[in-house]
């Protein structure tokens, strides 16, 4: 069944980027403002879902060649490794640290190892959500 989705597709191709940017913003905002890895990942996933809804599966997969199962694995692995990293330095598992660094042009910026952990969380969320949704829709 072919349907004419011109309006949906046109709007989606614009708004997907806005949603993706919002997701990225939420991710980085998490440290001091509402947001964070989990919610950021969810918003990214919802943008992807919108793309899959508007275009068909093959079209999107040509543009985004990601195996979401592997993405989930990478996310979980990354989060675990950040925890192990603390152990290698002699701290308890999952100890995080932060430092304020003065960058030229950007000024003083806070760098925290928990960002790496959050990246893992985001990837795992995106991966798992997309794996579930794509698996179920492929079942059709």
């Amino acid at each position: 069944m072919k349907t004419n989705d011109v309006i949906l597709q046109t709007i989606t191709s614009i708004s997907a980027f806005i949603i993706l940017a919002f997701g990225a913003y939420l991710f980085f905002a998490g440290h001091h403002d509402p947001g964070g890895g989990f919610i950021g990942g969810l918003v990214l996933a919802s943008a992807l879902v919108l793309l899959y809804l508007a275009f068909d599966m093959e079209t999107v997969q040509q543009g985004i060649r990601i195996d979401y199962k592997i993405l989930t694995g990478i996310g979980v692995g990354l989060s675990t490794l950040t925890g192990v990293g603390a152990m290698l330095l002699g701290f308890p598992f999952l100890t995080h640290t932060f430092e304020y660094v003065d960058f030229p042009f950007f000024g003083e910026i806070e760098l925290a190892t928990s960002v790496l952990f959050e990246v893992g969380v985001s990837l795992a969320v995106v991966g798992a959500t997309m794996t579930i949704i794509l698996s179920i829709s492929e079942d059709a």
Partner: protein
């Protein structure tokens, strides 16, 4: 971490790379790589020998869970070291033997060697652990690895049966031992064996002393196949012969003996210990030797022989524990000789039985059968195997010039000494001990003779064998030959062994008597009662062997229905049918039933505790002001919930659930929790998408499958849960027993550098929660993927057909 830790864990580490070696270097038999491991451990352990012979011990500790008194502490003394040497030494020989026994092309070698290496670490851990919890860990690991090894040829039904039997019985004993360990931990406030032993004087008074002793002994008896738990050992013979030689004769089954010896300083010297250990040991000795005579399968014969010999060692340890009652002096020394006999026979048994098992394996490998009715006349075809079998058997029968003779004479001495005891009511029953021991030794003699004569003498019947018999390759003969060499050498220089190995072992079993051991093992000790007992048993044994045909039929008179194996089988069957009935009754397959169980249990536990602890309270003073906006939201919430329940259209239900989610998000906004609101909104969006995706596939919505009347029970459960949750929420608000933890998180900016408290909690304070949360997500995602892929694959398969 000490070198000892590393060497004990070395096999486990090697086990990880064995499958890689097996795949990448398939040309070379994997066993050659594995061979290095036990050899290295053996050489390393040998370096402890001078220290141990000098009467010293060593302790290596590595903190593991110190807050619960659990440390990886390994203790090297005579007992542990000799066991370690047996494990690694015979381990080396068994690996060498297995290289020739297991075919590289046909067998799953990687599995075999992985299990074997796990077992080796487990066994080394058992004998060196000072911490009881660690000991228990390794102890169960031996059961598991033994299970895997018995079931190695898992396609055979008998292998699976044997493996299950061994595991059920030994793990049952393991649990019993765990209970004993916990009791000991309560009694002595420590899990360290050495510290417990040092408190033994006070512990005897403790009310848990006898229960802990009995439970510990059950664990030891199951592992060492003592009566009536011996039934698993013959079935364990379904394992490949290298395993039978290693686990089920030389090492693992001796773990029970080890535990009894290890705890003798703690429990020994009491009447209960003396009688249980001696009695069960003697019974096992007698029963095992009796049953061994009737076996037709060589490995089964050796299995019952092992049962019997383990009983012998066990009974000697029991008799020797009397020495602790005296604590010193002449009588203590007299009875400590039984412990000498026990540790001596332990070493001897490992040598001759290991060698015999390997020879039987050779016979099996080269002729294709182990049935003595088919075998015979192999002496001229397999002369080296014959010699080795002869040495092993005569040593087992207790004849000179082999080491079994020496320890058997000491055994007789021990029983005669025990009979002269006038404590523990021995003056009444003591005379039984030498008689039972002597009769059992007659049967031991008979089955040892059967083993050699029926296999190697008589007529060679090639038509009844599966293969043309010929001598085994040198690699298979070398390991038993080395063990047979020990059998002979120990006979001639027993006191070298005595000084370096047996005396430190005795010191571990009887620490109270250290320095008082003064013994000299002699092959010729004059015309003593022991010698006459030996002569009499040989004469009677030969007579009985020659007349075997006339009385072997007596065994058939034993009622099969009364056998212990029969009881085990019917017990297992009964348990299975009961559990199936219970499972069928409650596992209906309807999620509404499962929800009912969950809610009922929730009501019972939470409701009862709320009621009993008098937790129902409501303090209106602490409640914040409710504004109009919140009232409206609540009303919408209630309305949407009611819609979900009563609507007949799925689309409406989905929309109502969505409404619920968004209203809750609005609540979060009102209550100033923007993080939660954001998350809730995003999740609602994704959920709606998910619903859209699977909408098409869902079956038509039905209110209820059977009858559409009003279900009172469901209504009661539903209302009770609703009321209960409300009450819990109110009670939680009303009770503030502890200062709230949220104040701690207010410092998030200083502690974690994050101004967003919620995120600081997620990523810093409670990062482990988050980490496990994404593990769950990952597993859920992969689970959905796998389930759907399986379904699709099945559908495709059906279409192709």
């Amino acid at each position: 971490m000490s070198w000892l830790h590393i060497f004990i864990l070395l096999p486990l580490l090697v086990a990880v790379i064995i499958p890689i070696l097996y795949k990448k270097i398939a040309r070379i038999h994997t066993g050659w790589f594995v061979l290095v491991v036990p050899l290295a451990i053996f050489v390393y352990l040998l370096t402890f020998l001078p220290m141990i012979a000098g009467g010293e011990t060593a302790m290596y500790t590595f903190p593991w869970i110190p807050s619960f008194n659990i440390d990886m502490s390994f203790y090297v003394d005579g007992l542990g070291l000799v066991f370690g040497l047996i494990i690694s030494g015979i381990g080396t020989l068994v690996v060498l033997y297995s290289i020739y026994y297991l075919d590289k092309g046909r067998e799953a070698l990687h599995n075999f060697y992985v299990y074997l290496m796990i077992f080796m670490t487990a066994m080394l851990g058992v004998v060196f652990s000072d911490n009881l919890i660690v000991l228990y860990l390794f102890w169960e690991l031996t059961s598991i690895s033994s299970f895997l090894l018995i079931a190695y040829w898992y396609a055979r039904r008998q292998s699976r049966y044997g493996a299950q039997k061994a595991m059920l019985i030994t793990i049952f004993g393991g649990f019993s031992m765990l209970a004993a360990i916990i009791m000991l931990g309560i009694m002595g406030d420590t899990f360290s064996i050495r510290e417990l032993i040092s408190q033994s004087d006070q512990l005897v008074q403790h009310p848990l002393f006898i229960p802990a002793m009995v439970l510990l002994l059950i664990g030891a008896f199951t592992k060492s196949a003592q009566f009536p738990f011996h039934i698993w050992l013959p079935d364990a013979m379904e394992a490949p012969t290298p395993i039978s030689a290693y686990l089920h004769s030389a090492t693992m089954v001796k773990a029970g003996i080890y535990v009894v010896a290890r705890f003798t300083p703690l429990f020994g010297g009491t009447m209960e210990w003396f009688w249980i250990v001696t009695g069960v040991g003697l019974l096992t000795l007698f029963w095992g030797s009796l049953l061994a005579v009737k076996q037709r399968d060589l490995k089964a014969l050796l299995a019952f022989s092992t049962v019997s010999q383990l009983g012998l060692i066990m009974s000697l340890l029991g008799m020797g524990s009397a020495a602790l009652y005296y604590g010193g002096g002449e009588l203590a020394h007299l009875h400590s000789m039984a412990v000498l006999a026990a540790v001596f026979h332990l070493v001897n048994h490992a040598t001759f039985k290991g060698s015999l098992f390997m020879v039987v394996g050779i016979v099996d490998h080269e002729t294709g059968t182990r049935d003595i009715r088919k075998l015979g006349g192999l002496m001229s075809i397999m002369p080296i195997s014959f010699t080795l079998a002869l040495i092993g058997s005569l040593s087992m029968a207790g004849l000179p010039p082999f080491n079994g003779f020496l320890s058997k004479e000491l055994f007789f001495t021990g029983t005669l000494n025990a009979a002269s005891l006038d404590i523990f009511r021995m003056e009444t029953y003591g005379f039984l001990i030498p008689i039972v021991a002597w009769v059992a030794s007659v049967f031991t003699f008979i089955y040892s003779i059967i083993l050699v004569f029926k296999t190697f003498f008589g007529n060679y019947q090639p038509e009844r064998l599966e293969k043309e018999a010929h001598e085994a390759p040198w690699g298979m003969l070398l390991p038993p030959a080395i063990l047979a060499l020990f059998v002979v050498v120990i006979f001639f220089v027993p006191n070298v062994l005595g000084e370096y190995i047996l005396e430190p072992m005795m010191a571990s079993v009887l620490p109270a008597l250290v320095g008082q051991f003064d013994f000299h093992i002699e092959a010729w000790h004059g015309f003593e009662p022991e010698l006459f007992m030996t002569i009499a048993l040989v004469v009677l044994g030969i007579v009985l062997y020659l007349t075997l045909r006339r009385w072997i039929g007596l065994y058939n008179r034993m009622p099969r229905a009364l056998s212990i194996t029969n009881a085990y089988n019917s017990g297992l069957k009964g348990m299975e049918s009961i559990s199936r009935k219970i499972t069928d009754a409650h596992m209906t397959g309807f999620s509404r039933d499962y929800l009912r169980y969950i809610f009922l249990i929730f009501i019972m536990i939470v409701g009862a505790s709320l009621f009993m602890l008098d937790g129902i309270s409501f303090d209106a003073g602490t409640v914040a002001h409710i504004n109009m906006f919140e009232v409206i939201l609540s009303l919408v919430l209630v309305g949407a919930t009611a819609m979900v329940v009563f609507t007949r259209s799925r689309l409406a239900a989905v929309i109502c659930v969505g409404v619920l989610g968004y209203i809750v998000a609005l609540f979060f906004v009102v209550l100033r929790a923007p993080d939660l609101a954001l998350t809730q909104l995003a999740i609602e969006t994704v959920t709606v998408a998910l619903f859209l995706v699977c909408f098409y596939h869902l079956p038509r919505l039905r209110q209820k499958e059977e009858g559409d009347g009003f279900n009172v029970i469901n209504m009661l459960i539903a209302s009770a849960v609703g009321i209960l949750v409300t009450l819990v929420a109110l009670a939680a608000n009303g009770h503030r027993l502890f200062p709230s933890i949220s104040d701690y998180y207010l410092d998030a900016y200083e502690l974690a550098g994050a101004a967003n408290m919620v995120n600081a909690i997620l990523a810093d304070f409670r990062a482990l929660d988050t980490l496990l949360e994404i593990f769950v997500l990952c597993i859920a995602g992969l689970g959905v993927f796998a389930l759907i892929k399986v379904k699709m694959a099945r559908r495709e398969k059906n279409e192709n057909q």
